[in-house]
Each structure stands twice: as C-alpha cells, then as structure tokens.
Assembly symmetry: C2
C-alpha cells in the first residue's frame, strides 16, 4: 500500500463525488482551484455555489508533505521528522432549510518513522430533524461499517456523538454519524482493508446525501424556515471555529485558509438569546439535539 | 479601593454608556437581562437591536466570584484559590456599512492572594477604512492615555495591533486602538488612578463612537456596500471565535454563552476565495488592513 496509490485513489474519489453531486444538484457544476504548498504538496479545492439543491459547497482534495513543524509536534503529538498527509473533505450547505447540511472527511497520514493512520467520518446536520431520515442515514452507515468490522459502527458512532457537539450550547451539532481517527491495523483489519473502508465510505457519501435530498418533497421554504436555517448555520460556524480540531489545526498551523474555511455557510445569523415557540418544530429539533440517540 | 466600589462604578458605567448610545441611535432602547452564576455572582446583559444606527449591539456588565477552577488555573496561570472579576464589555454592529464596528472592554480581576490587575481597551473595525476618521479615533485615545501616563499610548497601541489581528487572513481586524492586560501599580500609576483610567476610558467610548457616526453623512447603502459589510462581519466572527482570548476562555470555562456571543454580528456572509476589484474602495480597505499604521 504505497502512499502514491492512496493519494491517486483519493483524488479519483473527489472527482467521483463531484460528478455524483452535480447529478443530484441538477443544474450547477463545480469549479476547481489548484494550489501548491511552499513546504511541499498541494491540492485541488472544488466548490459549487447557487445550485438548485446546494447553495454553497466544497469538496477538497489535498496531498501534502514536509517536515514535522513545532506546531504539529505539539498539537498532534507526532514522533517523526517528516510526514505525508492526503485526504478528501466535504461540507455542503443546501439551499432548502428542510435539506440537511452534510460533512464528510477521509484522510491518511504517515510519518517517516513508518507509523501511519487513517481517519474520517460522515455526519449530518439537519436544520429540522426528521427521525425517519436520521434512521435511514445511520442505517446506511452501519451497513458499510458492518461490511468491514462488526465493531466499527459501535465504536465510531459514539465517537461522532462526542466529537460533533457544542458543549457551550448544550447541543449536538446534528444527528451525528460516524467519526474515527488514528486507525491502523490494530483496529482489527489490515491497512489495505482500512484504505478500502475509507474509499467505500467516500463512495457511500453521495448515495446517502442523495437519499436525504430525495427523502421527502418540500414546498418552497417559508420565511420562518429560512430564518431558522440561518440560525442553525450560525451554530455550524460556532462548532467549526471553536471546536473542530481539523479547522483549528489548519488555521493555527498556516494551512490554506480558503480551503479550510470553505466549510463556512454562505450566510449565517445570530439573534441574542433566541427563544423558540413551545411545541414548535424548531423546539422539537432542539429537543433532538439536546442528547445523543440510538437511531437504529 | 474596595472591589465593591469598582463593581458598582462599572455597573454605573454600563448604564451611562447605554444612555449615551440610546441618544446616538435616536430611536431604539436597550433591553436588560439579569443572570446569576451558580458558582457566585452574575451580571446584567443589555442589548439593542434594529436601531436607526445600531443594528445589533450589546453592553454587558458582570461581577463574578468563586473558586479558581482547573481551567482558569491552566489558561490564566492564576496563583490563588478564589477570585473576583468584574467588567464591562461592548460590541456594536452598525446598520450602515460606512459606520464602523466598535468594541470596548474594561475589567478588574483580583485573587485572594492579594494580587489584582486591570485590563481593557477600545478598538475600531471599519468596513471601509477612512483615514481621517481613523486618525480622529486614535487622537482621542492618545489624549486619554496621555492624561494618565506619557507611556500608555505607546505601550497600549501596539498591543492592540498585535492582539486584534487575523494571522490566517494576514489582516488586522480593523484600525486598532488600545489594549492592555495585567496592569497593576507597577505600570507607573496607583491602583486608584488605574481604576480612574478604566472608568474614563469607558466614558470616552460613547464620545468616540458618536464622533465616528457623525464624521461624515452617508447616502443610503448600496447593495455592494451591504455585501462587503457582510463579508467583513464574517471576518469579525472568525476573529472572535478563533482568536479572541476572552471569548475562548468564556466558552471553554462554561461562561454564559449568550452574553459572550452577543459580540456576533446579526448576519454574516462567506464567499469562497472572494476577489475584490483592483483600485476599488474594498481593495483600499484591504491594503490598510494588511499592516499596522501610526495613525497619529
């Protein structure tokens, strides 16, 4: 399992996902920016705006290498002198408030010491939680996990719950999904199989997103739904800038800001001490987000 | 100089500032929320929305006390068992893109060990930098500093430059101002005089803001100006959630989220890799923000 193979397969994955998302969107295409990193490597950042379904989204691929910097050594506790990292990251902000925000990431990291690991995950952030849609999403993730290891879903689902949470709001980011980091062959499957798991997870992404979009048909959004969407997007900003380790590491270690912050929504709103109506759909969503759930 | 006196004078300061801001706004009044902290103390958060001048703003007062927690010990390097802290914090987001965002904070901290310090500052974040308005702002700050100590402005102005910067954007937040922290009598003036400096700085705040609002008359905002304002507000969000020590400490240590995040703009926008026109006013502002300036 050479790193060049992982890199080229991840780049293919990015292009595959963009193709599938263009089909789901129906009208809009991705633009591509290529960038290089002065210390070694670079990437392709693909973005889509003002689609029929996707208002703002990004699918980023990067493959970077170089010396382990002091910031990396400190924040990632790395033991090695040089590193290689490649991955695909996605965040999509849909236009319709009844469609969910979705995030995916698969990544591979290796050190000159020979140590390597895979990480990744997919999670869903509905502006309005629909229990059946949440179940369908988790069912798809569990099936993929089960195909690789019987323990994966039970390990990676709670990991997502804990990771994608906003303690300062006493809220989860959304209905979770799966998240994993620092996985090598000690997780119970070979390096090759772990790689296949990441690639297949990436391929599953557009299938799961397509299911969510097709799950129900929705009327044109009301002003109330749009306002709630802007508020929930504000929470997404808070998570990404205050808590997301990938974002913080990227920003503090001098990564490419525009690629890191492609996760930001097109627009977000903050209202001081917003109160929602009792028994409203907004309150129902907040109730769902107040705790973790077994969706299966 | 008893802490009770500082606390009551800071609360008076909050009410004075709100009165002055209501006069500047002309139509809208502040609402007040009182809150208590289970570990000791509490505060009054005053907010204003949809004014003629101020679209969203907050003037917060708090006075809290309790045991020094592990988080505080770690993040603030505190040597003591119990603490007392009181302060006034302000962020105002104006409606018109040609009016600046403004921030002020004065605070007092003491430990049971007898150690105390004052901190604070005022800084200005114009959506469009106007050099003459920036000079007037710094002139006002320098005069107030000079009245207390000949070195204050020269010490506190560069401190604001360094503090209010977004390294990940290679931008300053705005045109700076003054910032200081951990000041006790070793700064060259007595505790009593330091306290007076903080109070007078607070009193100066509404004067400086009034000057900025009255500095020029502006036509109704264009769509282009409004869009630029939303983008600059996005940068303000980035600073506050990624870099602002007060925000991060408040959030991570379990402070009152709604009071801490009253600094968020009413609405903000993110555009992937936004490019501004050459020789435009937006580019001129970015040029000003690309480095620190001596405004006097």
């Amino acid at each position: 399992m050479e790193k060049e193979l992982i890199e080229s397969r991840f780049r293919e994955l990015q292009l595959h996902i963009c193709n599938e998302l263009e089909k789901i969107d129906g009208i809009q295409k991705f633009d591509e920016d290529q960038w290089t990193r002065s210390e070694g490597g670079g990437g392709f950042t693909r973005t889509i705006v003002n689609g029929k379904i996707i208002e703002k989204g990004g699918v980023a691929f990067s493959a970077v290498h170089g010396d382990v910097s002091e910031a990396m050594r400190k924040q990632l506790a790395l033991e090695g002198n040089s590193f290689f990292a490649t991955g695909v990251s996605i965040v999509l902000h849909p236009k319709h408030p009844r469609h969910p925000i979705i995030h995916m990431n698969v990544r591979y990291f290796e050190l000159d010491s020979g140590k390597y690991w895979f990480g990744g995950g997919i999670d869903l952030t509905p502006h309005y939680v629909d229990e059946d849609a949440a179940k369908l999403f988790h069912k798809g993730l569990k099936e993929k996990c089960d195909a690789f290891h019987p323990d994966f879903y039970n390990k990676f689902k709670p990991w997502a719950d804990t990771y994608f949470s906003l303690p300062h709001r006493k809220e989860t980011r959304g209905i979770g999904g799966i998240f994993f980091d620092h996985q090598d062959e000690s997780c119970g499957i070979s390096k090759n199989e772990l790689f296949n798991f990441c690639v297949e997870l990436g391929e599953l992404f557009s299938v799961l997103y397509g299911q969510q979009i097709a799950f129900k048909s929705h009327d044109e959004a009301t002003e109330r739904e749009k306002k709630w969407q802007l508020t929930r997007r504000g929470r997404y900003v808070e998570f990404n800038l205050l808590h997301d380790r990938g974002t913080k590491f990227g920003i503090y270690s001098g990564g490419r800001t525009e690629s890191i912050l492609m996760s930001m929504p097109p627009m977000a709103e903050w209202t001081y001490n917003l109160q929602v109506e009792k028994d409203s759909e907004e309150q129902k969503t907040l109730d769902y987000l107040s705790d973790f759930h077994d969706w299966i």
